[in-house]
């Protein structure tokens, strides 16, 4: 596990903080590495863009803050506008496909999109979109093992929602694997905006 700086951002209520907790837990508890998670407090964290940062490493983490994320996972346009510019030029950008339009981006950035909200709605609960995104993150970034992430989800959500969140994770993960291999996505999950623009 090389030093990886991750920022997760979106609206308050999308489960941004929980996503970061799951990633940190997977790394530090289930993969025996080190993880430090911080979140933005203060007036800027109330409503609007909500953000959490996780640093993963195989040695103890010293500096606690993320400065130039290697991975940026964003679930709202406002969060993208705010945090997009700080992504490393060759970084990995993961976006909620229907909520974020990417612009002014370095050609070296690898961008992957996932309709996490629609997948979550398909499962009957929009609130599990964060678990979809974490699954998508796991598949595309390969920063952490699937089992570590699944264990961290199972351990972090209320037991009555465990199965649902794991299902959401698996669907996000499958979607990510398909993206990587270029497999066609389900027609109902195609990028609506792209289709319209085309």
């Amino acid at each position: 596990m090389q030093l990886t700086e991750i920022r997760v951002a979106g609206f308050g209520g999308q489960g941004v903080i929980l996503s970061a907790i799951v990633i940190g837990k997977a790394a530090s508890i289930y993969e025996n590495g080190f993880a430090t998670m911080t979140q933005n407090f203060g007036p800027e964290a109330r409503g609007g863009a909500c953000s959490a940062q996780v640093i993963l490493s195989d040695s103890p983490i010293l500096y606690p803050y993320v400065t130039r994320p290697d991975i940026l996972m964003v679930m709202s346009q406002e969060a993208y506008n705010k945090f997009g510019p700080e992504l490393k030029p060759n970084g990995l950008l993961l976006i909620e496909q229907d909520l974020v339009r990417v612009s002014n981006i370095s050609a070296a950035t690898r961008v992957f999109s996932c309709p996490a909200t629609r997948i979550a709605e398909g499962l009957g609960k929009r609130m599990v979109l964060n678990s979809v995104m974490v699954g998508f993150f796991g598949a595309v970034s390969k920063a952490l093992g699937v089992e570590a992430l699944r264990s961290a989800i199972a351990d972090s959500v209320p037991s009555s929602f465990k199965e649902l969140n794991l299902k959401a994770f698996d669907q996000g993960h499958d979607f990510g694997l398909n993206k990587l291999t270029g497999e066609p996505v389900r027609r109902d999950l195609e990028d609506v905006m792209t289709t319209i623009n085309a």
Binding site: S28, A35, T36, T38, F41
Partner: protein
């Protein structure tokens, strides 16, 4: 003795420093807390208030910090282990009662999750600017103990240490956290209860007829009894003799105040916790504590890559100050570099202890963030010139 398993949440967790601190208090045996919750310390008592009904104990949200800081002392004299939690503005209000705890030798723990000041300052952002206040904030001559954790794991571990030291020396102990450590989340391992050492109260074995409430044992610390146990005792902030009766003479004052100081200062070796690395051949030593020590570590590594012999001294115990250690080091190093999230507080002690033997370079920061490692590196390079 071992910790009471009811309060120990054994296992591997992913917790922030505030929550870890609460678990430390529960593991240490704290069964009473009174507070007037304030950012960035709120999560400690928030968790305590939800955990304590199942563990067995009490949390009271008081009308203000004065009330909170004295309610815990009432609980201690009633037999409980107790603590309160605050940040800058609340810490200021607690000063009078910290002095009361010193004078009445009431074992208790004050947790200050430091934020930027003065006044309401930066409620959600870090500082380490209450360090001198922790040492000197209450009036009169006294010594107390202050510890400074740099990770959620240490927030757990050192909260237990704080309770243990408070019982051992019958003194208020300050746990000087900061907003970053309080709000950062990392892995925290909580051992089984039988692996956690807990200092029991120094309860007297004497009969009520023999017992003198302020008669010191050999180490200068008196034994204790609790209200309602049939002993005659008197708890007062007035200068008192060994019977606990007010005695306003220079002789009683001299004897009492010197004992209150020497029981702490004289035990510096037992109380002092430090993390040292590369001191043997160091030309420059970076002295830091709390969150700043983690940033300093990165700066030290950057400096070593450049061939500079840099040593690290992390103060886990900040008060009592390791005067002798700095004095010894000062004779063989060129300079001390002291980064702090304040405009120069603990650096004054280092300067004083080093005297003319070594330079002392302060790396101040007004708070609101942590240093950039490069700021500390620049000071190391300057010191090594």
């Amino acid at each position: 003795m071992n910790a009471d398993p009811r309060g120990v949440l054994s296992g591997t967790h992913f917790l922030d420093g505030d929550h870890a601190c609460c678990e430390g208090a529960l593991a240490a045996g704290a069964r009473f807390s009174a507070g007037y919750p304030i950012t960035p310390s709120t999560e400690i008592v928030e968790r305590f208030s939800s955990r304590i009904p199942t563990v067995g104990g009490t949390f009271i949200q008081m009308e203000d910090e004065l009330a909170a800081s004295i309610a815990i002392q009432g609980a201690v004299w009633g037999g409980a282990k107790a603590f309160t939690v605050t940040s800058g503005p609340g810490f200021s209000l607690m000063m009078e009662h910290i002095g009361y705890a010193v004078m009445t030798e009431t074992p208790c723990v004050f947790i200050d999750v430091q934020r930027g000041g003065p006044s309401t300052g930066l409620p959600t952002l870090p500082a380490q600017s209450d360090m001198m206040q922790a040492r000197w904030g209450s009036h009169g001559d006294y010594s107390l103990i202050a510890l400074s954790p740099n990770s959620p794991q240490e927030c757990f571990d050192l909260t237990i240490t704080a309770f243990n030291l408070s019982e051992r020396y019958r003194t208020p102990v300050m746990l000087m956290m900061d907003e970053v450590v309080g709000h950062m989340t990392e892995k925290v391992v909580i051992p089984e209860a039988d692996k956690i050492e807990v200092e029991p109260r120094r309860h007297t074995k004497k009969s009520p007829a023999e017992f003198l409430p302020y008669e010191p044992a050999e180490d200068g610390v008196p034994e204790m009894v609790h209200a309602g146990e049939g002993f005659r005792f008197h708890v007062t902030g007035l200068t008192h003799d060994e019977r606990g009766y007010p005695s306003m003479t220079p002789q009683t004052q001299d004897k009492l105040v010197r004992r209150l100081r020497s029981k702490i200062d004289g035990a510096n070796r037992q109380i002092g916790l430090y993390e040292a690395e590369g001191l043997d051949d160091a030309e420059v030593v970076v002295v830091s504590y709390g969150i700043t020590s983690r940033v300093a570590q990165r700066a030290i590594e950057l400096a070593r890559v450049r061939g500079i012999r840099v040593g690290k001294l992390r103060l886990i115990t900040v008060w009592p100050f390791p005067e002798q250690l700095i004095r010894t080091l000062a004779k063989r190093v060129t300079a001390f570099v002291v980064p702090e999230l304040n405009l120069g507080q603990v650096v004054l002690e280092i300067e004083r202890s080093a005297g003319s033997h070594a330079h002392t370079i302060s790396v101040p920061h007004a708070g609101g963030n942590v240093h950039r490692p490069e700021q500390i590196l620049d000071a190391i390079l300057e010191a090594a010139k």
